[in-house]
Subunit: 255 residues, 2 copies
Amino acid sequence: MNGAVETYVEWLAGAASTGEIARRLQELLQQLGFDRYSYSHARPPLGKKIRSFVPLGSPSGNHVHEFLVTLPDAWVDHYLAHDYGDLDPTFSGAMTRVLPFPWRDVAGRNDLTNGQRRVLDEARDFGVAHGATVPIHGPDSGLSALNVVCHSGPQFEEAFRRGYRDLIWVAMNTHEAFLSLSEDTAGRIRVRLTDRERDCLLWTARGKTAWEVGQILTISEETVLFHLKNATRKIGVFSKHHAVVKAIVQGYILP
Amino acid sequence: MNGAVETYVEWLAGAASTGEIARRLQELLQQLGFDRYSYSHARPPLGKKIRSFVPLGSPSGNHVHEFLVTLPDAWVDHYLAHDYGDLDPTFSGAMTRVLPFPWRDVAGRNDLTNGQRRVLDEARDFGVAHGATVPIHGPDSGLSALNVVCHSGPQFEEAFRRGYRDLIWVAMNTHEAFLSLSEDTAGRIRVRLTDRERDCLLWTARGKTAWEVGQILTISEETVLFHLKNATRKIGVFSKHHAVVKAIVQGYILP
DNA sequence: GTCCCGCCCCCCCAATTCTGGGGGGCTGTC
DNA sequence: GACAGCCCCCCAGAATTGGGGGGGCGGGAC
């Protein structure tokens, strides 16, 4: 099989910084036949603006970056300056797909808006033309994507045909490594909830009041409140809302 | 490479019923060294109505099933009768992971509740002991999982070591084929939240009270309550807890 | 131009629910 | 016996729910 991919994935387990990951990922993708890449997080285009991105090579330390990018600087600057994140049709593609798809699929769609087409056209002008997007649907509704690009069309087709399964594997592993370096998960202490605490959180997350949860579990409202109080304290927050949210995000319950 | 997997994936494109998929999937997984499997949805994708559960072998027609299962009937019955879906620790694992993981990882965690451990123990009693879960985070915030099981531990370790990359590919493609067969009920209803409504939901999800959110957004507590009321109504629920949870699950906000 | 509509902001009120303490007791297991 | 898990009860103060009433602003339709 492909030793380079396996070596990279094994190396990821001990990766210490996102900058390192960015460099190794670039090396690996080049071995797979792709010239450049970008790895970024798409959801949500709603409230948040794109904050910082750190191109390959800049000093990174342990800081967590939103993007890993080795696309041409000029294109990245242009992209960010025009807020193309909201427009980019490859992102909307990633939103509705699970499998990797080449950009020619997107370009061939006839329901693109003028703005979306402009993004594609301008990307081509910057030399970002032949590529593919690997959607990464993460836990907690996150959506990230790994884009890979080749300078020439035939080179891309060959690399993509040979390597699309490798791409998925690489993208997933890179994503997990990236997430595990994020400060949120780093300091997480898993607490031990009891079954009743989980039950109460679960039904609360489903919109029930304490009294209703009591009816469902055939215990008194007071007891439900008791369990919720304990669970809230264990999880380390001060309100039921927060406890429920954290219980979901950290995987204690399924919404 | 593995011709059987490729053949299966190509066949999937033309698959006409979920019953067929269930049979072919069983054949394929057996070739990969796994004895049985289950494919189910922890959180059905938005907009897809997924109805009943039909084990492999029953007459299926074009009906859409919630589960594809070839685990022992006795265990499945027991599982469903006790509503283990809410408890099953492999699902909570899938909730926070992207990559496949063997169940021994779950069993080794020290934060399981008694109930969660009971599910694992009882599964073993029913002969469902050596297995792995392949999380499938789909678009639309859906979370599904493919579980594969072997009768013997060594057999599982060998098959998993050799085939975990195939499993991802198989799971993804099966999932896409399955979804494309499920009826698209009335399109999913995505509500349009305003910026302020999202802001208020976001800070509420982070555990702030209405008054605090008001301080953060420099608006009055009353206005925060106003936006939360509207958002709750739009999302179609009756409590703030539920609204926050649904906003997260459906990707309107990130926790 | 005007009008309407969505969005945002503020205020009021009664009823209900939650927070954060306290006090018990009953089963199991270690 | 200690301890964890579960169950029940009480209370005061705070927060939320679910209605209502405003006004202002900007953009698109007419």
